[in-house]
Amino acid sequence: MRFLFKTDYDQDIRIAKHSGYYWSYGLLLLVVIAAPFFLESYYIGQMTQLYIIAIAGVGLMLLAGYTGLVSLGHAAFFGIGAYTEAVMTGNGIPLPFMDEPMVFSFLVSMPMAAIFAALAGVVIGIPVLRLTGIYLAIATFAFAIVIEEVLSRWESVTNGYTGLLVESLYVGDLELSDGPPFYFLCLGLLILVILMSINLLRSPTGRAMMAIRDSEISAQSMGVNLARVKTTAFALSAGVTGLAGALFAHKLGFLSPESFTVFQSLELLVLVVVGGIGSLHGAIFGAMFVLALPQGLAILKDYLPTSIAETPGMEPFIFGLILVLVIIFEPYGIYGRWLKIKHYFQMFPVYKRATFKRQKAYMKSERLK
């Protein structure tokens, strides 16, 4: 057990709470940097996918986990990012002062993908900010369905259900959108996004977000500008998710509206909940879960009797079951469990179960009669 003695107020907002953080996260960084030199290309691809989903997860975590605004439509921002990237690096954008459509390098197009998604976030964010809780979720849900329809119907740009091929990225002769180079691109962006989020969360804006999550009215009385902070959170979250979408476009190499349905939104939400709501670790753990579950089930199928293994629809069932079980038994998700295990060993042998006891609250209606 390590005791932290506070000698300075800055300690409260320092990124690393104590020197142990440098060791553990430094080691983790070394491992992920060294990984592509040891792994087969299949696993590199999987790791890349993991990073992309994790970026989207961090995006949603900022909104759902830290600001307390639940979005059921994050696949829309994901899709906007992906299509922006595909169109800008592929066919290009016709500009009024150019003869031919302008094709952008990924250095321009990726930030643009993020900005576009963020703008969409603001557009949907401003009107729905008056809404809270479930209304907000339903509004984002409707927005996602409208965007999905737009993606499939706006054929001159998105090619509809025929799909849109995504060009590969090149830096000189090096193909950037495949294998280890792409791995490092995604890893770099993930680290960037996480650092940005950590810094955001210890800044006044981040703390205002958490204040809003815990109680909107208290936050407002403490002088938090609700509308501004909420819009910022929405825009940032959408932007980060859009960035993930841009990477995803290159990972897939082929876009069709089916990749950005409501189910993707739900999957992102499940990621956040199962990983552990209200922690950036949770986004990473959740991404691992979402990615590992189908694989794990595929392996499990080999050991099951054929009659069970051959049944279609097993996967969503397990998916739903795990979601329900996690919420009932471990509301802080995988990260919560990890904290408990860590705490157990730190406090050994005097671990108290009640440390993590949840408080029950009796619901009072927000409706006034």
């Binding site: 759902a64 639940v70 009107p127 729905v128 008056r130 809404l131 809780g133 479930i134 209304y135 979720a137 339903i138 509004a139 849900f141 409707a142 927005f143 369905i145 409208v146 329809e149 499939s152 119907r153 009215i217 208290s218 409501v262 739900l266 939400l269 499940v270 909940v273 049944t311 279609p312 629809g313 097993m314 996967e315 969503p316 069932f317 998916f319 739903g320 079951l321 795990i322 979601l323 329900v324 919420i327 009932i328 509301p331 949840r358 029950k360 609250a361 009796y362 619901m363 009072k364 209606s365 927000e366 409706r367 006034l368 009669k369």
Partner: protein, 293 residues
């Protein structure tokens, strides 16, 4: 005019599903994302009783509705009671998880599977002349008419139940303040289970009524998503609102499908939803919301 009639009939289905949302929301402040799945299960049960076991249509339908009542009760006991008192969002996620499970479970059931099925009904799909030929043609099929009549009856029953019975008033009380309701001697948990049962039964009725028009399959539950706009339009938590909302959404959707380019039919409901949320978030019949600290 003909379009409006078609719209009213599909709107009634939305209204019934929305009614399910509203019932649960009114009593427990939970939005049940698995309402469509409950409807799907109800329709499948009816299919089992009527087509597989060969029961009479009315008996089969009644049996399915009763079964779904208990199923809804069970869902509340098993999945929702453990999270009672948790943040609303967790409870919503539980219903989403249950939706996933219900959909794939129906796909895995022997005899149900992922194909589409039809129930043979006593209603013919032939048209009936509503008003005399001389005043213009207005045709309605018996199926559509059955949907409309059943909706009206169900709504009347539910409305009376909520405003005139002890249980219904107890439900309203527990929705406003759980703790106070406990103190008043209302068995809040049992009331919640009851409301889930009723809501599931209404969903089953919707499923059975919908079966002749769209056939039964496991993805039938997505209609439930269309009922959101209906519920919001009417103001979540208002029974007449849900019905009116459902009708409006149904009519708008049918008209959009006819007059606007393809694609608008699918999104019309959601566009309306977004507009309503922006302009008048409390819906047509909703109460103004506010919060005390």
């Amino acid at each position: 005019m003909q379009l409006v009639v078609g719209g009213v009939s599909i709107g009634c289905i939305y209204a019934l599903v929305a009614l399910g949302f509203v019932l649960i929301y009114k009593a427990t402040e939970v939005v049940n994302f698995a309402q469509g799945e409950l409807m799907m299960l109800g329709a499948f049960l009816a299919y089992t009783f009527i087509s597989i076991l060969g029961w009479n249509y009315w008996v089969g339908a009644a049996a399915a509705i009763i079964c779904m009542f208990f199923a809804g009760n069970l869902v509340d006991r098993v999945f929702l009671r453990p999270v009672l008192g948790q943040p609303q969002f967790s409870i919503v996620m539980v219903t989403i998880g249950f939706g996933y499970m219900a959909r794939s479970a129906a796909g895995m059931m022997p005899g149900w599977g992922t194909e589409t099925y039809a129930i043979s009904t006593p209603f013919s799909s032939e048209g009936m002349q509503l008003i005399p030929e001389s005043m213009g043609s207005l045709v309605i099929s018996q199926t559509d008419l059955s949907v409309i009549i059943a909706t009206v009856i169900l709504c009347a029953v539910l409305y009376t139940f909520f405003t005139h019975t002890r249980l219904g008033i107890a439900m309203q009380a527990s929705s406003q303040n759980q703790l106070a309701a406990y103190y008043m001697g209302i068995p809040v948990k049992a009331v919640f289970s009851m409301i889930w049962g009723i809501s599931a039964a209404v969903a089953a009725a919707a499923g059975i009524l919908l079966a002749p028009t769209t056939l039964i399959d496991t993805s039938m539950g997505f209609i439930g998503l269309k009922a959101f706009p209906a519920a919001v339009l009417g103001g979540f938590g208002s029974i007449p609102g849900a019905v009116v909302g459902g009708l409006i959404i149904g009519i708008i959707e049918t008209l959009a499908g006819f007059y606007l380019p393809p694609g608008f039919k699918n999104v019309a409901a959601y566009v309306v939803l977004l507009i309503v949320l922006v302009v008048r978030p409390q819906g047509l019949f909703g109460q103004k919301t506010g919060k005390r600290v």
